[in-house]
Symmetry: C2
Subunit: 558 residues, 2 copies
Amino acid sequence: MAHLTDIEIAQANDINHIKNIAKKLDISEDDLDLYGKYKAKLPLHLIDENKIKTNNLVLVTAITPTPAGEGKTTVSIGLTEGLNKVGKQATVVLREPSLGPVFGIKGGAAGGGYSQVVPMEDINLHFTGDFNAVEKANNLLSALIDNNIQSKTQNLNIDPRTILWKRVIDMNDRALRQITIGLGGTANGIPREDGFNITPASEVMAILCMATDFEDLKKRLGDIFIGFTFDRKPIFARDLKAENAMAILLKEAIKPNLVQTLEENPAIIHGGPFANIAQGTNTIIATKMGLSLSNYVVTEAGFGADLGAEKFLNIKSAYAGLNPKCVVLVATVRALRHHGGAQKEDYNTPNLDAVKDGFKNLEKHIENIRKYNIEPVVAINAFVSDSEKEIDYIKTTCESLGVQAVLSEGWEKGGEGTKDLANAVINVVENKATQYKPLYDWKSPVKEKIETIAKEIYGADGVIYDKKAELNLRRIDRLGFNDFAICMAKTQKSFSDDDKLIGRPTGFKVTVREIEIAAGAQFIIPILGKMMRMPGLPAIPASEGMTIDKEGVISGLS
Amino acid sequence: MAHLTDIEIAQANDINHIKNIAKKLDISEDDLDLYGKYKAKLPLHLIDENKIKTNNLVLVTAITPTPAGEGKTTVSIGLTEGLNKVGKQATVVLREPSLGPVFGIKGGAAGGGYSQVVPMEDINLHFTGDFNAVEKANNLLSALIDNNIQSKTQNLNIDPRTILWKRVIDMNDRALRQITIGLGGTANGIPREDGFNITPASEVMAILCMATDFEDLKKRLGDIFIGFTFDRKPIFARDLKAENAMAILLKEAIKPNLVQTLEENPAIIHGGPFANIAQGTNTIIATKMGLSLSNYVVTEAGFGADLGAEKFLNIKSAYAGLNPKCVVLVATVRALRHHGGAQKEDYNTPNLDAVKDGFKNLEKHIENIRKYNIEPVVAINAFVSDSEKEIDYIKTTCESLGVQAVLSEGWEKGGEGTKDLANAVINVVENKATQYKPLYDWKSPVKEKIETIAKEIYGADGVIYDKKAELNLRRIDRLGFNDFAICMAKTQKSFSDDDKLIGRPTGFKVTVREIEIAAGAQFIIPILGKMMRMPGLPAIPASEGMTIDKEGVISGLS
């Protein structure tokens, strides 16, 4: 039983030099760019398209989560330990944590208990500087835009009222959501409205995640759509000659980061989180790197399978030609109680009736995964408050659907607690995997793509477009962006766009309030409901409970 | 003759693994935290107070510079090569470049020609992430402030109109100088005025530069003065329980960075630039690290000796108990022509009369250095446009003042071109050095300290205090901050506060417009004239001329 905090477990762990982890993947020491003794960047020449085709990709996603999360990262890490325990050579490929949640409510994203990646403090803090590089590239473009509208000689005639490009900061900072800049007289620029998004929500992060190589990255940076001139001509980052300088800032950030699990298995961590407001999966380059180096790759996509997995499958895998052979659906008994109507204060109290009722959420996610021609395995992420009856119900009911549900005890036991899960996954990969298929063709009409996701995945009856969204659609058409992928911005709390519709809602429509464009990432981003791209801090921020002593030992980081 | 650009010279150089540079300093490989193969962080336990006392510290400063700069960094690196060439074990200790100038006009700060530190691209870009860490620590405090004034339960009653703490970004971005934040309704905070300074101007950077160890850093972070409550009580960062989380963000940034010169001598680079708006010297920890590891340490302080050197001597050395044994005053013939009245278009045309007239600027700096009980050496940073007559005039006139002036040809020839300079420095260190003395006692009254600098160093007749400055002085007194050091914010273009008064102005007074407080750094900051803490980009930003190819090779970075 884990009585220690996550950080205490991580600190008590005897960590191996990263060169020894690299050795397991046949990476020579010379190919490692070390960042201290326990982190390294990997060069892109290690990517091997032939191995990508033959090795096995496993995607970990979840049912519709409670605010605490279902433990996808923990299960992904635990499953990787388990796969290695049962004799497979497996690497976990994860997303990088954002500093915002670290100091806010949710904490970092390095797993938990005995299923963690280490060094967890470094991973949860600045890591190897990738987020900073994304932030600087994003904000350099902002500075170049404002410098241009201020310029007398180089002016591109950009209409400041049409600028869609925002600044970013990797911080939960609600006061920066909506601001006015350029105040204070002629020396300080042209006053205009602006705002900061959190860094993982930057299009530069999306571009980093979608880029297949450095040239592709640079081209996409140049393709960023900024706004219009006063005579309604579109302006792109390349018009400001920004793409090279932005790419220069990202020259190290494009390389995936190698760390290790507590059981000294390889972990590749690269790219941004937040599958509700971004694509929320690690980079294509990182996933390909994992598959180039390892027979099994376990990766994750953010929030419920209606968000992260949908994007992983329809955007990332479709674009990059990946073929996930098994999807692990993480569920907790606690979340099923929630979907069955249990109140927050009763989440940790056994309630078989609530679990029975809540199962419908899991069932819909199982149905959804099968629409992609992939077989799911259900991982029940074990909690001490789980009752045997609840677990049995879930297992039996899954079995009746032809799905294996396995208790995942990685949090408490590491790889020893996930061997069953590992075997269930291997069974699907080796015996049931075929070629997955995406749900829609990028070349379909925009409304058709949106409706496919809404109806097939969310279970909606239809899609309502606000007037602004209709105007946005016309603009997308005029700009020639119809063939882009759909990257939905939707609440993670419900299949629908309404937080309160838990379980498996039916008889609802979703409303597209507006539609943003990320032309460099090649995303059309329908905004469903009130999604904010800059979180706030809670009344008592997590930062208040953190300490660091003179030896540099941190506590209170989670 | 160097026909290649700085970056081409740096790229053509065969760079050594940083572990081999560390070996020269008797640092074990285990003590290195590598950042790639050519950068490393050094642990603080290598600092040895006994060696700091016996080894030799040489400060490089300059005459009042032209906008292109006098080449202090180039001379510092060149001198270090020269010292090693003539048999001394020498390390150069420099400041880290800011990204703002890299994309603006001035370029990076890694030296030039055959006197550079490498890898110059990495040093000029994100380096080891120190600036990012400073930025995040600064902006976490901002987010905590705005979160507190928004909070219903934890509210400290901070009056938003009194908040002095600003956000920072390491970018030249004039549109962020003056902004309003918290707009858009109750969910987005309390609207108030704010602004961004450039990251090196952050008090967190000043604290990093002044901290003697990690505990001191944390204490100083807690001591940051933010503003007042509605009932006029002062509020500090510790009232927001911010200092631990901020220190956690800085846990790696406090460690100095080891790189190398083109001739494979050790270079330690740590802490922020901008001696006009900040203290503008490297960190105390970095200087002490250099002195712990090396018999000679060559370090620099920003802009003219009236700014960087004044602060290095009266603030940094006084606080840290350092004893600079020689000051190298860098001059260029070009700048002396400027101070003698030559126009910009004629800077590169020999003009003995102008040099003769401009010499008075150098003479005043020589006099100033001697006030600290330190003997200067003048380094004439050679340019192809220098005439023999001009050089001779400078040498002879310096000699008549008892000062050795030496041609420094490090830019063209590396260490081969600075052996004379090295020998001149060694002569002062070994034969003329005593104990330096600061110009004022920190415990003197504030106005007395300001007037000492203005009269003794600037040559002013007196100091005028604007009404706002007088009010600020009363506040400083009320808050008990009288014993802090004075960190002047003044133009680098003149001894006075008026850009146009070149040469050696007399018969002028300086005006203190307002006085800022950096309570954690223990600085009182008189603002002379119109100093801005956020630069802008030029009409054609340097970013436009930069390229990076698919192999990651950069051009256009300087």
